[in-house]
């Protein structure tokens, strides 16, 4: 004990010495380059986004940008596509999250019950995560095709789909994108939840078994409470990523048909880089970011308060 005490002092002394000689501790100097670069490429653009959001940008380069104050923000509430986009986004995000979570949890539990070959199987199951989102879009665009797509053929053969196409249909288009997202990201949920399952203390489960708790009760009272932190992280990360990415929509439907897959994130892309209304895009982006972060924080707090009894 006494030995380790003197050791830490000598490390600290070195730090102090360093600070005296170079103005900043060694660790401080290590952090500086990364922090400076990060400031330049994240905080500076963020600052610009706020500035941009109060301007109306000239489409032609060289022409003068016009200061419009809060008009970009006020205009959002009059924009029915923006309001509608939130509805679509909410539907898309919530359906994806719920299905991916439930399926992922189920797969994790089943994988946890496999004795031989679980590792190989898990590795194969996580292939879709490595696939670029844009490639997932084309993959599904191809197999959903109404004249030669295999999924289309399958859905028709089974009788789920009667006629028409998948991505061109008003009722099916969003479902098609959701299916692609489920294919791509359920493995993420499964993998993370499996890691959580493996950490549930065995003695607690044994104890519950000895007390005669059935598998449902063991699941609800022992497994689930132990899993809460992992579940929060898995859902949170998936939530933020669904809000972030628009690649699949860009490839599969470009917001169509008749705008039923135009989520808020995709609408923003349209406004900024299709119509080149950068000011309006920035205002939308700022609101979208605040809402994403707000929802994420609210979710964490809610689950914290709901009580992990640990």
């Amino acid at each position: 004990m006494a030995n380790s005490n003197t050791v830490s002092v000598s490390g600290m002394e070195l730090s102090v010495l360093h600070k005296k000689r170079y103005g900043l501790s060694f660790y401080g100097w290590m952090v500086i380059p990364a922090v400076v670069l990060l400031l330049a490429i994240t905080v500076y653009p963020f600052f610009w986004m706020i500035v941009m959001s109060v301007f109306k940008f000239a489409v032609r380069p060289g022409a003068k940008n016009e200061f419009v104050g809060f008009q970009n923000y006020i205009g959002l509430f009059r924009d029915h596509l923006w309001v509608k986009g939130w509805g679509i986004q909410a539907k898309y995000v919530s359906i994806c999250l719920v299905i991916e979570f439930l399926l992922g949890f189920a797969i994790a539990i089943f994988l946890n019950n496999v004795r031989r070959g679980a590792n190989t199987l898990t590795t194969i199951f996580l292939f879709p995560m490595m696939v670029a989102p844009i490639a997932v879009g084309f993959l599904y665009l191809y197999i959903f095709n109404a004249s030669f797509g295999w999924y289309y053929w399958f859905l028709r053969s089974v009788g789920i789909l009667q006629k028409g196409s998948i991505l061109g249909d008003l009722n099916w288009a969003l479902a098609g994108i959701i299916i692609a997202d489920i294919w791509e990201w359920t493995p993420f949920m499964a993998l993370v939840l499996l890691a959580g399952l493996k950490k549930v203390p065995l003695d607690q489960i044994e104890a519950a078994k000895c007390d005669g708790a059935g598998s449902v009760r063991r699941f609800r009272d022992v497994l689930l409470p132990n899993m809460v932190p992992v579940i929060v992280i898995a859902v949170l990360i998936r939530f933020m990523d669904i809000m972030r990415y628009i690649d699949k929509i860009f490839v599969m439907t470009t917001g169509g048909p008749a705008g039923v897959t135009k989520t808020i994130a995709f609408y923003l892309f349209d406004v900024a880089f299709h119509f080149f209304e950068l000011g309006r895009g920035a205002a939308m982006g700022f609101v979208l970011m605040l809402i994403t972060i707000g929802l994420a924080i609210a979710f964490v707090n809610l689950l914290k308060r709901k009580g992990v009894q640990r």
Binding site: S10, Y44, I124
Partner: protein, 292 residues
Amino acid sequence: MAETVETIVHKRSIVTKIAVVIVLAVWFVWTVTPLGIMVISSIKTEKEAFETPKIGDWKGVLNVFRFKPTGVHYKALFFEEKFGTYIWHGLVASLSSAIIAIGLGTLGAYGLSRGKFKQESNISFWIISTRMAPIVVVIVPLYYIFRKLGVLQTIPGLIIAYTTFNLPFALWLIKGFFDDIPLEIEEAAFVDGDTHWRVFRKITLPLATPGIVASFVLCVLFSWNDFLFAAVIGGAPAKTVPVAIPELQTTAYIRWGPINAATVILVVPMIFLGILIRKYLVQGLTMGAVRE
């Protein structure tokens, strides 16, 4: 590990066993089929690839495997289109960005892990919050700034753009790896009279190397797969594979053969990289919050 198997199922009856096998088999088919169709279609002529059986004709499925492999689409990609160049662009941009992110990230992560700073919790929140910002949101101001700086549609611009998500990611993930290394090991070296830098180089860095390599691979994977930054910031002169694929569809006709071949080129190397760092994948994708 072996004991954890019996977490849920009390006694493994034959019914449970069958249920497990069926569910996993279904999931296996669901996972692999789209990839299989893509790979097979990429080595078929378009005429062969478009021959799906009639609705309800289940036996016709077997005809999928009746074809003569052809490399036509791959040839088209490299000789008619300039996919060699696009692959090169993608490699240069993703590798450079990963090197910058991992280089600065490793130093910064070590500092953050070992040093004491007044604003530590604020710095942490800032780093993590970069992951919450929707990509489109980041792109709008970057586009404007890059246009002013004149790095729009250049490879260096693309490298900086990728670094906006790679650097915070690397910083945070590698910090987790350094946090795992016990301080006592370093303190023993300080007693021997080593300087800070030597302790870092000779003792801590080698211990964290596997994690740092995994972070590097993930950085490459994210940037290679990226579409939006490459499309908006990179544009035509710095075209990468994900940007080139959508351009294979013209208004009149979608060239499915080359698209499938290009998708294989885009996807297969990344799947191998994923398998390579399988051990660190959970930690990497949850920003270090969950470990296997």
